[in-house]
């Protein structure tokens, strides 16, 4: 049997007002040596990606509510279908907001409690990484990582029942903490309920997080913890038995 080796393919969605797509493409192509494809939001065809990225920015100007208009873009039907088939999807910052508006993740993201835009490095505690092996499989429960945040509307909220269910099912996978991994009001940059920074869907293949892993994937920019998410994806893709021709590792 001839196995055709190829690098992982990542589709990066672009809405009018998206601003982090080039950073994701840079990491995927130049840091990892994989293939990236920008997909304009009016396109319904994602191609045949191994993973889909919904990047940060201000899709449709964030008018009405963040992500509220983006969710109706044709590309979202394809993203939903990709996720429903088990494909790994990551929504960072505005992408997280789009995922909640689309109903692919529970809860919502509101104006930061202090009303300021916050752009800073932020410590995060990894919890239940096994809940999302495609995105956090290379990290350990309790790991404290540092990623940039850059948002004005990142206050995660959900009703108590939903929050309790997320905690019970181990779907809160990233939490704002101090450098020692402790949750406190001072370590919460936006007033999110229970310090929640990232959650996954029930199946574990859709991750939404406010921080920016693509901005922390080279030591030159101050940190490489974001690269650990892509390394997780790399390993996860290699472990998939379904299609050996799909890809080989970048090593």
């Amino acid at each position: 049997m001839t196995v055709v080796a190829r690098m992982p393919r990542v589709a990066v969605a672009v809405f009018p007002g998206t601003w982090s797509e080039r950073d994701f493409v840079h990491v995927v192509e130049s840091v990892l040596g994989w293939e990236a494809r920008l997909v304009w939001h009016t396109e319904a065809d994602l191609g045949t990606p191994d993973a889909v990225v919904l990047p940060g920015g201000f899709a449709h100007g964030d008018h009405l509510r963040t992500g509220a208009i983006a969710r109706f873009s044709p590309i979202m039907r394809s993203v939903e279908a990709f996720a429903a088939a088990g494909g790994p999807v990551i929504g960072s910052c505005n992408g997280f907001q789009v995922l909640t508006e689309a109903g692919m993740l529970p809860g919502a993201l509101l104006r930061n409690d202090h009303l300021e835009f916050r752009c800073d490095w932020q410590s995060l505690r990894v919890e239940h990484p096994a809940a999302t092996p495609a995105w956090l499989g290379d990290l350990a429960d309790g790991d404290v990582i540092s990623l940039p945040i850059s948002h004005g509307e990142g206050r995660y909220i959900a009703d108590t029942e939903t929050l309790d269910a997320l905690e019970r099912d181990g779907r809160v996978v990233l939490r704002y903490t101090d450098a020692d991994g402790r949750v406190s009001p001072d370590s919460n940059p936006n007033g999110s309920d229970r310090g929640i920074a990232g959650i996954v869907n029930e199946r574990g293949n859709v991750l939404g997080l406010m921080p920016h892993p693509e901005r922390a994937s080279e030591s030159e920019v101050g940190g490489t913890d974001g690269l650990r998410l892509f390394r997780s994806l790399d390993r996860w893709l290699r472990e998939q038995p379904a299609a050996p021709e799909r890809r080989l590792s970048s090593g």
């Binding site: 009405l64 509510r65 109706f72 919502a108 509101l110 930061n112 009303l115 909220i157």
Partner: protein, 93 residues
């Protein structure tokens, strides 16, 4: 016929509204010491066509459900009236 809807969207009670709190602080700082709470929200005026009041009401409700208000964090209420001036102009151009 033409209708005008004024849709008010507000955060659900119990969800912190830092914008409203800040406005309340500003009002108190201006001397309105009896102001105990401000909740902020959005107002949208929507002009649209519908055959009758029931259809107009149903249309506004659907707009709110599908787009205007987040089912997770917001509630919507609205006032609806026929745009008689517009209808008269259409009848007697």
């Amino acid at each position: 016929m033409r209708w005008l809807a004024e849709v008010h969207v507000a955060l659900r009670s119990g969800i912190a509204d830092p914008e409203g709190q800040t406005i309340g602080s500003a009002l108190r700082a201006l001397g309105y010491s009896t102001v105990s709470e401000v909740r902020s929200g959005k107002l949208m005026r929507i002009a649209f066509e519908a055959d009758d009041p029931d259809a107009a009401e149903a249309a506004v409700g659907e707009m709110c459900r599908r787009l205007l208000a987040s089912p997770v964090m917001e509630t919507a209420s609205w006032e609806l009236r026929a745009d008689e001036q517009q209808d008269a102009e259409a009848a007697n151009p």
